[in-house]
């Protein structure tokens, strides 16, 4: 994972609440078996007027000029500014991959959906929760004639506005540490292998019925009654 320390980047204001992962990356692009190739289809249904399919490039498509992503002001955006409950809906991590591939490193919103929020940290995308009044101010700033840059300083847990106002944000210290150091999450857990094995052995004693799947899987096809009475 790419470490995250500090960035200064342009803000893209997406003024909609409850943006769901079906909008961030529509399902027709989930057919890929790879982790890359999603950036061109970020917000596909809003960004283009025609229905996209896998493998097309943006210049073959009809742009929706009303949509903020196509606004010439925001072509270097690295920070997405959003409304509440960003990333709700499906668990698809492709949403995070698409944002990163497009160039977004930070999403700022008043609240996030749980699965999306945790997916962000696995990939080095920083989700920042800020209070409504600051979000309002940022929308106001970012919607001006000239796009604005913000500095996001993760070690200092600060967002620095163009007028030098500094806003502090909260972040779980463990997640912060992992992001800054670009740590391998699986590696961290595997370092505890022995404890997992010990737990598993005791658990097997306590709940033996959970450890007989291989045998059950071989069982003949079950005739479904569907009755729950």
């Amino acid at each position: 994972m790419k470490p995250f320390t500090e960035i200064t980047g342009q803000v893209l204001p997406l003024d909609r609440a409850n943006v769901d992962t079906d909008q961030i990356i529509p399902k027709q692009f989930l057919k890929s078996i790879r982790r890359t190739g999603f950036g061109d289809n970020l917000f596909d249904g809003w960004r283009f007027l025609d229905e996209g399919s896998i493998g097309q490039t943006p210049n073959e498509r009809r742009l929706n000029h009303e949509f903020v992503l196509n606004d010439s002001r925001y072509q270097d955006a690295q920070i997405l500014l959003a409304r509440e409950n960003f990333g709700c809906g499906s668990s698809r991590e492709h949403a995070v991959w698409a944002l990163l591939e497009y160039g977004i490193r930070v999403v700022i919103a008043p609240s996030f959906a749980d699965i999306f929020f945790s997916n962000c940290f696995k990939n080095g995308l920083l989700p920042i929760v800020l209070k409504e009044n600051i979000i309002e101010k940022l929308f106001e700033l970012a919607s001006r004639e000239q796009a604005v840059d913000l500095t996001v300083d993760l070690p200092g847990q600060r967002v620095v506005l163009p007028d030098q106002e500094t806003v502090l944000f909260d972040i779980d210290p463990n997640r912060k540490h992992s992001l800054i150091n670009g740590l391998d999450d699986i590696g961290l857990t595997l370092a505890e292998s022995e404890r997992i094995s010990t737990f598993e052995a005791g658990y097997r004693q306590r709940m033996p019925w959970l450890f007989r799947e291989a045998e059950a899987a071989a069982a003949a096809t079950f005739s479904n009654t569907g009755d729950s009475e």
């Binding site: 909609r16 609440a17 409850n18 769901d20 079906d22 909008q23 399902k27 989930l30 057919k31 890929s32 078996i33 790879r34 982790r35 229905e51 509440e84 409950n85 709700c88 809906g89 499906s90 668990s91 698809r92 991590e93 492709h94 995070v96 609240s111 959906a113 749980d114 699965i115 997916n119 696995k122 990939n123 210290p173 463990n174 540490h177 999450d185 699986i186 961290l188 857990t189 595997l190 370092a191 505890e192 292998s193 404890r195 997992i196 737990f199 598993e200 019925w209 959970l210 799947e213 291989a214 059950a216 899987a217 096809t221 079950f222 479904n224 009654t225 569907g226 009755d227 729950s228 009475e229």
Partner: protein, 471 residues
């Protein structure tokens, strides 16, 4: 000290401990896999030179991409080559690692959240994960079941643990009796309408009360399924006789003395009488009417007797803007009564409502009637091959076909339209699925979420109607 909630109990039983960085490691009993969110996880595992921790905890099936017709052709029936590659990749990964898979030709294949319970692979007190947000479905069995992203799919494959923070406890208490033909689907839509799609974010919901106890397992699964639409990663219902009766005799469930041992433990899987919840919602089942979503989020929901909202009556400009946008997308006007809105297609299926009980209700509504002329397609897609076989054995399939429905093979189908079943732009659909987001059932398609009974009545009438007036 106060007692424990059901969620507390299952969490505590699986807590391996704290990792060096202070995060909790939760042991995972069951990992369900499907073709869309697993390929990158297997690839990551291989690239890192890692092995799955415990093969027998995994169970796989293809569901999102599979076609619902021409199924005897197996893989060759998948005309979309990119989709086919994904299904083949799952086959290959399962074969390589020795993971049990119900493949495209297996009679037990189906939507991952339907086959888990059907096989007894979902058991009380389990921790269950799947790279799919509707994993919450399995909470109906007092399991802690959560959707995860692909990185976590890889993490669970490699370590048998999920690293996370404990959520809060939210109780939804529903007492009273649901009126006839008003179902668990109407109940969960009403709950989402009441608390919003972010209402339970950061919490695990436990559904309790006499109306919940009275639900069948199918109904409880419908309820827990849509917990994610209320913002909760997991929804749960405590163990009772209904739970145990459903599980007894299923292939992956224990039998004999192991069953007795398990049952003694499972009986403890209810919240203690003095358990404390962080938040609660209380609802009266008796006053509920059938629900229909009018907009592009599951929280945009009204009773069948109500009308689409008026943006001018919104609390603030942002809400007005959201209502306006949704009305435009859906092709509805402010204050338009939902009953009478004409439809193009009907979809009965998805992990929310594709079980045998759902199909029985549909059959009871449509028996001896015909799908209305203006309906271009009325699709019924069973949740699994076994549900399909049973519906055929019970004569339900004949009723559907005689009424003019398309009777298909199992899969996700038009719930998310990754396979060929989809809406054309601006087509309006009554759907028993769980998401009405823009484009969910096809580019520019218009989805209204309803119960199976309401979808059946709409198919016959050609427009929305209160099923209680026509059944």
């Amino acid at each position: 000290m106060s007692g424990k909630t059901l969620y507390d109990k299952v969490w505590d039983a699986h807590l391996v401990g704290q990792r060096a960085d202070g995060q909790s490691m939760v042991y995972i009993d069951r990992h369900l896999l499907h073709e869309v969110t697993s390929p990158q996880a297997f690839e990551g595992l291989k690239l890192a030179g890692r092995k799955p921790w415990r093969i027998d905890a995994n169970l796989a099936t293809p569901d999102h991409n599979v076609p619902t017709d021409n199924r005897a052709a197996g893989l060759d029936g998948i005309t979309d080559l990119i989709a086919r590659e994904q299904v083949v990749t799952l086959d290959n990964n399962c074969r390589e690692y020795g993971i049990t898979q119900f493949d495209i030709l297996d009679p037990r294949q189906g939507i991952v959240h339907v086959i888990g319970p059907e096989q007894g692979a979902t058991l009380p007190g389990m921790t269950i994960v799947c790279g799919d947000s509707h994993t919450s479905t399995h909470g109906a069995f007092a399991a802690l079941a959560q959707g995860i992203g692909t990185s976590d799919v890889e993490h669970v494959l490699a370590t048998q643990c999920l690293v996370q923070q404990k959520a809060g406890n939210f109780t939804v208490q529903v007492d009273g009796q649901l009126p006839e033909l008003v179902s668990a689907k109407d109940l969960v839509l009403a709950i989402i309408g009441a608390i919003g799609t972010a209402g339970a974010t950061g919490h695990t919901i436990e559904y309790r009360g006499s109306a919940i106890s009275a639900l069948s397992m199918e109904g409880r699964m419908t309820l827990c399924n849509m917990s994610i639409e209320a913002g909760a990663r997991a929804g749960m219902v405590g163990v009772d006789d209904t739970t145990l009766a459903y599980l007894k005799g299923r292939p992956f469930a224990p039998s004999g003395s192991l069953w007795d041992q398990a049952e003694a433990y499972w009986r403890t899987l209810v919240s203690d009488a003095d358990a404390q919840f962080d938040r609660q919602l209380v609802l009266d089942a008796a006053s509920l009417v059938p629900q229909i979503t009018w907009g592009t989020s599951p929280e945009m929901v009204i009773g069948v007797d109500a009308a689409a909202p008026d943006p001018r009556a919104a609390a603030d400009a942002q809400e007005a803007d959201g209502i306006e946008r949704a009305l435009t997308y859906m092709g509805l006007s402010a204050n338009q009564p939902i009953s009478g809105v004409s439809l193009d297609r009907v979809f009965i299926g998805s992990c929310t409502n594709s079980r045998i009980e759902d199909l029985r209700v549909v059959a009871s509504v449509v028996s001896g009637k015909k799908v209305a002329k203006n309906i271009k397609q009325a699709l019924i897609v069973p949740g699994s091959g076994l549900v399909k076989a049973q519906a055929e054995a019970e004569g339900l399939a004949d009723i559907f076909v005689a009424a003019g429905f398309d009777w298909r093979a199992a899969g996700c189908s038009m719930c998310l339209a990754m396979n060929p079943d989809r809406l054309q732009p601006e087509e309006r659909c009554a759907s028993t699925s769980n998401r009405n987001f823009e484009g969910r059932q096809g580019h520019a398609g218009r989805t209204h979420l309803v119960s199976p009974a309401m979808a059946a009545a709409a198919a016959i009438a050609g427009h929305f109607v209160d099923v209680r007036e026509v059944a």
